[in-house]
């Protein structure tokens, strides 16, 4: 019985990040990378993966050190742990793909101040076992990467007519340039949230009708 409960708990910890508590769409955390580097799908994906690495490694470290870190300085300790892993990603990405590293620029370093990561350490990893923290981190970063793709794919298609740098339309396509410029980021996320609100409202109305 307890095994069954355990299993359902762990799958829930993983799944909640994808949809129910999606860091970008529901909690509106980590907005600055979500808007700044989503002008092409490739950048969005790279940012998502970099954030995944940082979140996962710092969750593992924080949850295994949770009994050692004194309560008064825990936030500072988390920040140092996160900053260390971000430095690793920064140097790693510069070695693996200099082109993407150059395009993302300072925004890789700015993963440190992504509230999503510090938020998960404080709310989850510091109170749970390593296993559950790994699942939580994986779920949350999958949700974040998913959101990054949701924003970046339409922006790239509309703004430059390509997807992962492959042209989708013929010569006659006139790119909607504003979508890859800063305002496009605000509009895209705004319209996505609008769509979700609309869906939630429709569902609520349907449930009300059913109840009556």
């Amino acid at each position: 019985m307890s095994e069954l409960v355990e299993k359902s708990r762990s799958s829930e910890e993983f799944l909640k990040g994808l949809w129910k508590e999606n860091p970008v769409f529901v909690a509106v955390l980590g907005m600055c990378p979500a808007l700044a580097v989503t002008n092409t799908a490739m950048n969005g994906l790279a940012m998502g993966l970099a954030t995944t690495f940082v979140l996962l490694s710092s969750s593992i470290l924080v949850s295994s050190l949770k009994s050692v870190i004194p309560k008064q300085v825990r936030i500072t300790a988390y920040v140092i742990i996160i900053a260390t892993f971000v430095t690793v990603v920064d140097f790693g990405l510069a070695a693996i793909s200099p082109a993407i590293h150059k395009e993302l620029g300072a925004f890789i370093a700015l993963i440190v101040v992504n509230c999503l990561i510090l938020g998960r350490q404080e709310a989850f990893a510091s109170k749970n076992t390593i296993g559950l923290s790994v699942l939580d981190a994986l779920g949350m970063s999958a949700g974040f990467t998913f959101a990054m793709l949701c924003i970046s794919i339409p922006r790239e298609i509309l703004g430059s007519g390509t997807l992962f740098n492959m042209p989708l339309f013929g010569e006659s396509f006139e790119p909607w340039v504003i979508m890859i410029l800063p305002p496009g980021g605000f509009f895209m996320l705004g319209f996505l949230l609008l769509g979700f609100n609309w869906y939630a409202q429709k569902r609520k109305e349907r449930n009300l009708i059913k109840q009556n």
Partner: protein, 191 residues
Amino acid sequence: MDNLIWIFVSALLINNFTLSYFLGLCPFLGVSGKLDTAFRLGLANIFVMLITALSAYALNTWVLVYAPYLRLISFIIVIASSVQFVEMALKKLSPDLFKALGIFLPLITTNCAILGLALFSTNKGYGFVEGMIYALGAGGGVTLALVLFAGIREETRILNIPNVIKGTALNLIIAGIMSMAFMGFAGLFSS
């Protein structure tokens, strides 16, 4: 001198931190309900940015030459602790100013706009004076965006808006339109 004016105007309007780099969006969307609060948050931002520019310059000249890989960690720790230190000094020396800015200081100590400022001015290789001017411009730009945005949001509260779009969705679309308007400043210096 021309160069300094260019740095200032560029950070203030053309490359506005909030509207074209998306830095400091959390307070931008969170604390912009009231005009007065937004203005004080903007002032606190300028204040912290000046401290940041100072610390970043000191670190870049004396420490990071020897250990460049410590850049991120040292920026965060030094900025956070010097803001805390100045906050304590402020509490003692000027309680009025502390009252006006106080609650915002911990909130923005290391948000993305602050760290972004330190990183950008390092990447651009600014010296001391340039760094301070850049911080003033960037802080002024954040304040400008915050105040304008808060003004628009106060207006939307008395309008009859469909429920679907209320909240973050509407705010983001307003910010998008403002960002489009600020893009117009890009032509300011071309002639």
